[in-house]
């Protein structure tokens, strides 16, 4: 069985994820190929921490991934393509899979081979259940991969440039979102629908005083209480803060997916049966308003 591992690298963490995925693939198959794609403006040193013989592509990340999918499909005879999960990785997977006639599965959690059969797992029903799928024929899957700290040396002799372009859109302009350090913050103040719009300022103040960031559940962003770029969860950002204080969120699993890598999670909810408590280290049954006021008072005083 041949496996190709591919990552669209936005940063150095993606290199580590690529190497983690490569190691996973080596445990499954004897023939493993490595492909990495970088943005056109990336300048390379001659050596890079990637598996030996990694094939390097460069393209404009603001284009779509259709032509890249076509270009890689031309020379790729792999049985399974495992792709590091990120926005462009998912986009590439869809175009590559439909082009090659492979089955495509996005955001997978694991892959195994048992008696020659390939099985893949993925969270379904909005994060509530883990589904296991048996795969026949070619497979393209994007994977939540583990980072590897292994040091590889790949000498870069050749880079293939692909002109991506954007199929279906023209006159493209970009507006960057208000910058926030949600994904890198040490302290997260997360708010849910239990927080009233007119009290938002208090939570913002709390985050600021603690040197942290504010984020929220999907309804809070959809209702315009905080910016969409501050949404936490599987449709938003994944945060790995050392401490997360969660105010008035029920703990729906699509939201929890975004905080599960935080160190200590403390949640405040008026409903003692709220699901959020299952996914918290500490819980308080109480009114968020009283707690935010008292926390601010203590911190300021």
């Amino acid at each position: 069985m041949k496996i190709t591992v591919l990552t669209i690298c936005n940063n150095d963490i993606d290199l580590k994820k690529h190497n983690g995925l490569f190691e996973l693939a080596e445990n499954l198959a004897s023939e493993v190929y490595s492909i990495c794609v970088f943005s056109s403006d990336k300048v390379f040193n001659t050596e890079i921490n990637l598996p030996k013989n990694t094939v390097i592509f460069q393209c404009d990340f603001l284009g779509d991934m259709k032509k890249l999918g076509g270009a890689i499909a031309e020379n790729n005879e792999t049985d399974i393509m495992l792709i590091t999960k990120n926005t462009l990785g998912n986009e590439f997977a869809g175009f590559f899979g439909t082009k090659t006639g492979a089955s495509v599965m996005l955001n997978c959690n694991g892959i195994s081979v048992n008696g020659g059969e390939v099985y893949i797992t993925k969270k379904v029903y909005s994060e509530n259940l883990m589904g296991e799928f048996q795969c026949n024929g070619k497979l393209v899957a994007t994977m939540n991969s583990l980072k590897s700290d292994m040091n590889y040396t790949c000498t870069i002799n050749h880079v293939t440039h692909v002109d991506t372009g954007f199929d279906g859109l023209e006159g493209i302009t970009i507006v960057k979102a208000e910058e926030n350090a949600l994904e890198q913050c040490e302290i997260l103040v997360a708010i849910g629908r239990g927080v009233k719009k007119n009290t938002l300022e208090k939570y913002q103040q709390l985050a600021e005083k603690l040197g942290g960031e504010i984020g929220g559940t999907r309804p809070v962003t959809y209702d315009g209480i905080i910016d969409l770029s501050r949404m936490i969860g599987n449709s938003g950002k994944a945060v790995s803060a050392k401490v997360a204080i969660v105010f008035g969120a029920s703990g729906a699993l699509p939201f929890v997916a975004g905080i599960e890598n935080c160190g200590t999670i403390l949640s405040i909810n008026k409903d003692e049966n709220a699901m959020i408590f299952k996914n918290s280290n500490y819980g308080i049954v109480g009114d968020v308003q009283e707690y935010v006021d008292m926390l601010l008072e203590k911190i300021q005083g």
Binding site: G97, S126, G168, A177
Partner: protein, 263 residues
Amino acid sequence: MKVLVCFKIVKDMDYVIDRDWEIANSSEFELSYVKDVISCFDESALENALRLKDSARLENVQCDITALTIGDGNYDNFVKNLFAVGISEVVQVKGCGELDFQPELVSEIIAKTSVEKFDLILLGNEDSTSNCGITGFHLANKLNVPYILSANEITYNNGELKLTKNIDDGLMFGKITGDCVVSFSNSNNPYLRFSTLRDRLKVSSKTATVVEFTDLNLSNIENNLKLVSLKRENKDLNCEMLVGNLQENVQFIMDNILNEVGK
């Protein structure tokens, strides 16, 4: 301008009780008590289609929206509401059986049902049961038109179709160049507008056009990814409940949680 919007009716996962998730892999897995909703990103696609129609009307351009759903349920309430908010036609494809986790077959059904030419086909990036996120790719591939993912908004402005797309660190704006398939993810207009009782009364005689799956004469599409099991992965962090009064609990947070990070 002719626009097709595809939507799926699903169970509202937020209302499924824990016990039911736990028995998900058994024959008892029963969600009929849970209320039906339009899958969230499809709802965004529908509302954005209506906003496109509103903006086209301002420039005296006619925009007809057809909404298409696949499934055997009684969707009368949804259908009435869609007519009331301004959808011109609703099509329901029946008799397909269980289609979760079969994005290629779903795209084939949409392609075959929408034989009439549409300028735009809108749908959600993924549905909230199978979370596949692949249907749009298959559909665009079958129709041989571009596929634009992760749309946030779409409007008609100065004779042009303007699209806003979510990208990792912001928004991308562009002009749509021709027929295409567009899928919506997080949108500035996520919720379908409400209809008034008067709107509903006006369309009370309208019903969905039913298409039978067997009449579509689809060629056999093999599903190479077969679901073999479903299970709840219970993660329980053994939450310690703080039972003090407000003052005591806040002091605990200060002393034991925030001081971990030097605050």
